[in-house]
């Protein structure tokens, strides 16, 4: 067990180091999110009242797409250069190794997205009082999204145009997250109680933490065959 723990720690360290060696790339999901949040007012209307109405939808769809974009790279390089094969043949629990990878991934993509969401929300004319609630909702939501994405990304390893298939697999599964997330955000904007939708989001995250790494490990093994 201590060996597994040590191995997982090394995986985290390695992924962090790789990320910081390409520091610029950490910004991409953030920028994507920012750009999508900019495009909406351009495509809809610059009026604050109308923007405020669509803000929950825009924020969650932006977060969903940005996190999808990011998760596409979760395994790609490891699969291409044979690292994933080595993980599977390392004699360690693949589930744990992948859990470590997914956790690092959320740290590097989901968390920054959550920290960025108040800025985007403000640009969509959301009142400042609603911002803390929005950060909470997006944080929990992205945990669930990362875990969900980890499974679909594992299923699409080695498929040539995996990215498109990945969206297709993930988006329908992400619908409940989107609904509760948008609901939580809408309530935050109205100033009403957001406990119920947050509770659902948290439930999905917990479910994800327990099941997703197992499913991802199984999917990776299948993909390598």
């Amino acid at each position: 067990m201590s060996g597994t723990w040590q191995a997982a720690r090394l995986v985290v360290e390695r992924d962090l180091r790789l990320a910081f060696r390409n520091r610029g790339q950490l910004l991409h999901p953030l920028l994507f999110f920012a750009i999508v949040a900019t495009l909406f007012p351009l495509a809809l209307s610059p009026e604050p009242s109308r923007l405020r109405d669509v803000a929950p939808g825009v924020l969650w769809i932006g977060a969903l797409l940005a996190s999808l974009l990011a998760v596409e790279f979760l395994y790609r390089e490891d699969a291409q250069d044979g690292t994933l094969e080595q993980f599977a043949l390392s004699g360690r629990s693949l589930t744990w190794l992948l859990f470590a990878k997914t956790a690092t991934h959320w740290l590097l993509s989901g968390l920054p997205l959550a920290l960025m969401s108040p800025i985007a929300a403000y640009a969509l004319a959301v009142p400042p009082a609603a911002l803390p609630g929005i950060v909470a909702a997006v944080s929990i939501g992205t945990i669930a999204l990362s875990l969900l994405g980890a499974v679909s990304a594992a299923l699409t390893i080695g498929i040539r145009r995996g990215g498109a298939l990945l969206s297709l697999l993930t988006l329908p599964l992400a619908v409940p997250l989107l609904i509760f997330g948008a609901q939580a955000t809408a309530r935050a904007i109205e100033g009403s109680d957001m406990a119920a939708p947050l509770y659902f989001l948290a439930a999905f995250a917990v479910l994800g933490v327990t099941l997703a790494p197992l499913a991802a490990a199984a999917a990776v093994r299948i993909s390598l065959e």
Partner: protein
């Protein structure tokens, strides 16, 4: 027409030396102009009859915005020259403009937002000029991102040059399309942007500021371009001579 000046200018050791000599000639006047402009703007100029003292933000905001656009233009022109004549020095110039331009875009956005709060009651509205400036920031970030993603400096130079040239075509297009977009959707009434009626005592410090920021930009570019030239010329003999000296 005599083109020797062009080739001389294009020679890395020549520009390296020239830039080094020119820096103080831009830097000190820039410091002087900015100090004078700031004093004139914050102290001497009378308050605006509508906005009171709030309008004084213009003395940092407008020059920053001006610099952000000027830097992009310079960058694109340098990039185009670099592409067409395969001129290392021009690429070095383009690469030096980008971070400066990006930072002053941030400055224009932030000071504009700080101005917006008292004037419009909110930090941000989707006004055409603001939106265009935000898109400009994205263009800069894309340029810097592309450059940092490519390992080989020659490749990075040429690829980002193509992007800069495509982008410069886009800046005015964005500007006018955004204007058109917002004039059709009715604009929120809080933000009638129109030019403040500006009097000479107000205008003079502003003009001095413009001059100061331009000189500052040139000084910054010249410092950076020397480093960029060294990065591109590291195997050349003149570098070892210059560095050893």
């Amino acid at each position: 027409m005599d083109w020797t000046w062009f080739h001389r200018f294009g020679s890395p050791p020549h520009l390296y030396g020239l830039a080094g000599r020119l820096v103080p000639w831009f830097a000190w006047p820039a410091a002087l102009a900015i100090a004078a402009g700031l004093y004139g703007g914050l102290v001497l100029a009378p308050p605006d009859y509508q906005q009171g003292d709030g309008f004084r933000i213009i003395y940092v905001h407008a020059p920053s915005a001006w610099l952000s656009l000027m830097a992009y233009t310079w960058m694109a022109v340098a990039a185009a020259i670099g592409l067409v004549w395969r001129m290392k020095v021009a690429h070095a110039m383009a690469a030096s403009c980008a971070p400066i331009g990006a930072w002053f875009t941030v400055a224009a956005l932030c000071t504009g937002m700080l101005w917006g709060k008292p004037m419009w009651g909110t930090y941000w509205v989707w006004d055409p000029r603001l939106t265009a400036e935000l898109v400009l920031l994205f263009l800069y970030l894309g340029y810097l991102g592309l450059r940092s993603a490519i390992e080989d400096p020659q490749r990075a130079d040429r690829a980002s040059a193509v992007l800069a040239v495509v982008g410069v075509v886009n800046v005015p297009i964005v500007r006018y399309s955004v204007e058109w977009w917002n004039s059709i959707h009715q604009a929120p009434s809080v933000m009638k942007f129109g030019k403040p009626t500006i009097s000479w005592p107000m205008l003079t410090p502003l003009l001095i500021m413009f001059v100061g920021f331009t000189l500052l930009f040139l000084a910054l570019v010249l410092v950076r371009v020397r480093g960029e030239i060294l990065r591109r010329e590291r195997q050349a003999r003149w570098v070892s001579e210059v560095i050893a000296a």
